[in-house]
């Protein structure tokens, strides 16, 4: 058995690269709750999120061989595919964003293997660096990443002109990178 969840997911992805269907089924079992959570939060409704999860795993099946060339953690790689897919979908057809039902089956509170696979030091670093930004800028970055807000939506959310929001966010991103790479 692999030493931990991260290694297991990495191993499963490399087996999926060789068309191992059993590994694909296991990879789905291990990671689909996280990716469904990502698409549900970004797309805001179950129907679109379910469609998106299917499309995302088709991409995972097709692109598994390219995983080894990236330096990303396996969970980050999967979540990047999921976010990109969901955001492309949001941008091509803006979906309602406020109807996540209260009765969703939120997985229980114990850390799941995929949650453990997201390194805690990565999280501490981004939290620290976001904390260095003015509070509204920090919130804008998180609203974009976690809720899929576009520049236009951020401008509306924070009641500033679109160009002001662009300038704000770009400056914030430069400061954020300087902090993250320090």
């Amino acid at each position: 058995m692999p030493a931990d969840a991260r290694d297991e997911i990495r191993d499963l992805i490399s087996r999926v690269a060789l068309s191992d269907r059993a590994a694909f089924a296991l990879l789905y079992d291990r990671t689909s709750a996280k990716l469904f959570g990502v698409t549900l939060r970004l797309l805001g409704n179950r129907h679109d999120a379910e469609d998106a999860v299917q499309e995302i795993y088709v991409k995972v099946w097709q692109r598994a061989a390219s995983y080894g060339t990236t330096g990303a953690s396996p969970m980050s790689w999967l979540i990047a595919i999921a976010r990109n897919h969901a955001i492309d979908r949001l941008r091509s057809r803006r979906a309602p964003h406020d109807d996540i039902a209260d009765n969703e089956t939120i997985a229980d509170g114990d850390p799941t293997p995929e949650a453990q696979a997201i390194a805690t030091d990565e999280r501490a670093r981004i939290d620290h660096c976001l904390g260095e930004l003015p509070e509204d800028r920090s919130k804008a970055v998180q609203a974009a990443y976690l809720d899929g807000d576009s520049y236009q939506e951020l401008a509306e959310r924070f009641s500033v002109p679109l160009n002001t929001m662009r300038t704000w966010l770009r400056r914030s991103l430069i400061r954020l990178r300087e902090c993250l790479e320090a």
Binding site: V16, S32, V53, R91, I126, L173
Partner: protein, 240 residues
């Protein structure tokens, strides 16, 4: 939007805007095209994906409905789903298989010892040559695969590291886009029909960019014709 020649700063900010997701549909399409053709820009994107991955913990896990997995497998694999693979996995995990496997592995090891005493023949380079350099995750094992397409000669060498006892490294051709089952290209250090080779059915498909993988198999290679062990390295073969 920035063009090539733009500053490092501009490229990095555009990559961040792409990863954050704030660009509109057209800007995203243009940026994706840039990622595909500009490796340096692609590295900016990768770097931001890693930077922002720390936020991923804020996405709550939500169990998807059970029918989604069936629908997905049906869509990818048709009606057969995973039955045969599941059966394969069961065999792989069974004690009886391993007892048989150990016997076969011992025989394989004796064969391997005999093979390693011989020098491989020199490679005639007469036409287009493809080279793949494969390294394991740990970096301690390295393979070089050379293919001369005009002579149809495939050579594979373990240039660093060794195979674990009673195991062999097997080479695989991975169809583009994972569109079919991988095809064995023989065993690193193998002989006879297990020697590295490109089967006639793949001759036209083995071209620049072809993905090659190495898996760790029982001695003598996969007992099933499909990779059964862990995939240790994957890389494209590039024209040299």
């Amino acid at each position: 939007m920035t063009e090539s020649g733009a500053s490092f700063e501009d490229d990095s900010v555009l990559a961040a805007e792409y990863v954050l997701g704030v660009l509109d549909a057209q800007e995203r399409i243009a940026t994706e095209a840039r990622i595909a053709r500009d490796p340096q820009f692609a590295r900016h994107v990768e770097s931001w994906e890693n930077h922002l991955a720390g936020l991923n913990g804020a996405f709550e896990s939500v169990d998807p409905p059970a029918y989604l997995k069936d629908a997905l497998e049906h869509r990818l694999f048709g009606g057969t789903a995973t039955a045969s693979q599941t059966g394969l996995a069961r065999i792989w995990n069974s004690a009886r298989f391993w007892r048989l496997g150990t016997f076969a592995a011992t025989a394989g090891l004796i064969l391997l010892a005999a093979i390693t005493l011989r020098e491989p023949p020199p490679l005639p380079v007469t036409g287009e040559t493809l080279l793949a350099s494969l390294v394991t995750e740990e970096g301690d094992t390295r393979f070089v695969v050379l293919y001369d397409s005009s002579a149809n000669v495939l050579r594979a060498s373990l240039v660093e590291g060794t195979a674990p006892a009673e195991r062999d490294y097997e080479l695989w051709f991975v169809p583009p886009g994972n569109s079919g089952a991988p095809v064995s290209l023989g065993i690193v250090g193998g002989e006879g029909d297990k020697a590295p080779h490109v089967p006639a059915t793949l001759l036209g498909d083995f071209t620049d960019g072809t993905t090659i993988a190495v898996s760790l198999e029982p001695a003598g290679g996969s007992p099933t014709g499909q990779a059964t062990g862990p995939v240790v390295a994957v890389a494209p073969a590039k024209k040299i």
